[in-house]
Symmetry: C2
Subunit: 447 residues, 2 copies
């Protein structure tokens, strides 16, 4: 039973998928049942890494969707439009869709899921998060018996590459970014990666699957690494932490009507060195799922690249091909694979969340300043884990380490225990008002 | 649509499953469709951690399988018999089976799979390997587009706990084992864990899924940690390695008839400190899958325990419940979920495999011994990465480190590059014949 595949886009991922379909030997035998029928490209003349018959190429993506020989539509063109419209067109035609497009799914996932449910077709998105790492399928199918407490991850390879090098070499953000751009690990316009938008797209998708309800992408607070100072990476290391861009969705409770309360955010975050995510280096990704009763499980691997992403796309195609062998034309959808939404989710007011914090203060180096800072935290019942004075680089007179400075500017780093955001902010305001405090130079989440 | 569950066994895992089924709120809504109908126990009077109506308990496991209200049979009793017969009885009755029983699946997997295929029912085994870690499902469904090059893992928590403590504390194997037994991390009879049999069961299962063919369990060479000397753990650490009990299945090629050639084994193995598996501590498990084109993906989490294992069992139950909504009574099986075997696998002669090695030699401490050892390796074209002399503990006169010893006994550790096993053995034989060499004290695989 041959299954016709239509490909929208023949960039690196599309070419990777075509490459797998063209070489089925040694892979699951279902791969041999897949036949590439039609491929939409932007430019027919451009040289390609894969050899495809000219007759199946077209510049008209709608022709791919509409082709009666195409049973499954694979969208790997990226961007919001025309990708969204083409996905909806395929659904309307009763054709299942496989897409790697996190931006479309994060923004239009609800519209697409509603259309898919009405038409009774699958829209599978394994490649949208974590590249080649199987994470969507385990979340949908393998962890359904759990109450998920938190999903957290390093899900942007570009920023993890930059942070790894900042930590290893003590290098400045701007220098490493320029290098990453030269090496092809960062785009010419790196905004979506370094400002956290890409990770926010992905955590919106993961949270939706983990908690069974749509998460409003535009409401997710996302902070990137573009304003991260390398001295905070260095101070964190000296205190036993690693700075990572962490995207996290945490369960906080349910409203009376069953709506799930979530804290979803993207932020540069201090992780203790022994935290499972702390050891994820370079362009790798990892997603940690904490649930009851499973405990902590982690999924790790290459978060991007033609091969890994194509592996995930083909996984979805195979899933659809496999389940086709189960039912006839009257078949329903497997609710696990379809990832049906079964409840509402809402993001809570950030002021009501609880977490640990890292704060770096620029102060004048006078006796008693640490005591006054400690008092401000204490007045707000903010409990402190450590408070350390570092040598102030670039200050008028640098101190020589914790407590050893004798005048001029100092840098004081405070790590708090878990505390409500509102009380923490109140303490910070009081600290900023102290005459010895020049500025709150950095403030980072801490796990 | 309620689905009746029959439970064979109500030990820690069985009680964990019953606990999840009894508290569906906050889990996937399909959990609410599952109803526990009948439970086989050994002793009706024994107190249980879960509260179940006395009427559903029975001491007759066949009554559970035969009960018309039971749609899915869940085998969590362990042991070979009557577990195997009960699984086959359920299959014969057309009932899908979920089992956590790695011993039965590793030994009778082919018989069970053949019966299941004939009857058209699923036998799902997520809980048999890696406790709560989703690994069976990703291997079956998410990585099918890949050619798998190697599956390797730390899949026995007891031995990893012992090895972690040996490494951290420099403690002796016997002392840590006794402690692990006191703490409940090791059984009173620890043979299956510490001699590698449990890990061999599991790698047989993983290899069968990764390569699409049955692997003969009895042919897998398994070496445990029960003869591991703590000084090898310590020397390995000084050379930048961690010793782990690694179970691995490596693809070596295919015969002319398409039979897959595999090197499958369980052995204490040196891993470079930066290897993804090297950071897996305590009772945790991790499985690393290397494939083309996905690259390296790793799955990490709690490898045992009531909660994690119950999570995996319920995942399988949900999968069966979900796919029931797809087809009618005439429905076929999803070949991915059914994990149909599609080719033959065979284990190659260990003499034909290639790997790196760690060798510890006890020698008399005389000038020139390192040179003569190096020559023996060189004569067999065995390339050496490092050769280091250590202080010999317990020797007549201890040396003071590499090359600094002045007489009496010495210990020399050699790490080779990748080399054919036959040539390596020939070199070792020549080394053993050297007059300065007292014994080959240890020989460990190295990745």
């Amino acid at each position: 039973m041959t299954i016709g595949i239509g490909l929208l886009g023949l960039g690196t991922v599309g070419a990777g998928v075509a490459g797998i379909l063209a070489t089925p030997e040694g892979r699951h035998p279902l791969v041999g049942d897949l036949a590439l029928r039609r491929v939409a490209v932007r430019d027919l003349q451009r040289p390609r890494p894969v050899d495809l018959p000219a007759a199946i190429l077209t510049t008209d993506p709608e022709a791919v969707v509409d082709d009666p020989a195409v049973d499954i539509v694979v969208e790997v063109m990226g961007g919001l439009e025309p990708a969204r419209s083409l996905i909806l067109r395929a659904i309307a035609a009763g054709k299942p869709v496989v897409t790697a497009n996190k931006a479309v799914i994060a923004r239009y996932g609800e519209e697409i899921a509603a259309a898919a449910a009405e038409q009774g077709v699958y829209v599978l998105i394994e490649a949208a998060v974590g590249g080649g790492i199987p994470i969507i399928e385990p979340l949908k199918q393998s962890l359904g018996g759990n109450r998920i407490q938190r999903v957290s991850g390093i899900i942007n390879g570009t920023t993890n590459y930059i942070l790894s090098r900042m930590a290893d070499e003590g290098a400045a953000y701007g220098d490493v970014l320029a290098d990453a751009q030269r090496l092809g690990y960062a785009e010419a316009d790196p905004a979506a990666d370094v400002q956290g938008g890409d990770a926010a797209d992905k955590i919106a998708i993961l949270a939706g699957l983990a908690y069974g309800g749509s998460v409003q992408r535009s409401a997710i607070p996302a902070e990137g690494i573009d304003r991260l100072d390398s001295r905070d990476v260095s101070y964190a290391a000296q205190l036993g932490f690693v700075v990572k861009l962490v995207a996290a969705a945490q369960f906080l409770g349910t409203d009376a009507d069953g709506t799930v309360q979530l804290d979803v955010r993207v932020s540069p975050t201090l992780l203790p060195k022994e935290h499972p995510l702390a050891g994820v280096h370079g362009v790798n990704n990892a997603i940690l799922v904490e649930g009851d009763p499973v405990g902590r499980v982690m999924f790790y691997g290459p978060g991007a690249g033609a091969g890994p992403t194509a592996s995930a796309v083909v996984a979805d195609i195979l899933n659809i091909a496999g389940i086709r062998q189960v039912g006839g034309s009257e078949a329903g959808l497997d609710p696990l694979l379809a990832a049906s939404r079964w409840r509402q989710c809402r993001l809570v007011d950030p002021g009501l969340t609880q977490h640990r914090n890292y704060v770096r203060l620029r102060t004048s180096d006078e006796p008693g300043v640490i005591g006054r800072i400690g008092t401000c935290f204490g007045d707000q019942q903010v409990s402190i884990q450590s408070i350390v004075q570092f040598e102030a680089k670039g200050g008028a007179a640098a101190g020589a380490g914790a407590g050893a400075a004798t005048g001029g500017a100092a840098e004081i780093v405070v790590i708090t225990h878990e505390v409500g955001e509102a009380r923490f902010r109140a303490a910070l305001a009081a600290i900023e008002a102290l005459p010895e405090v020049v500025s709150v130079a950095a403030c980072l989440r801490t796990m």
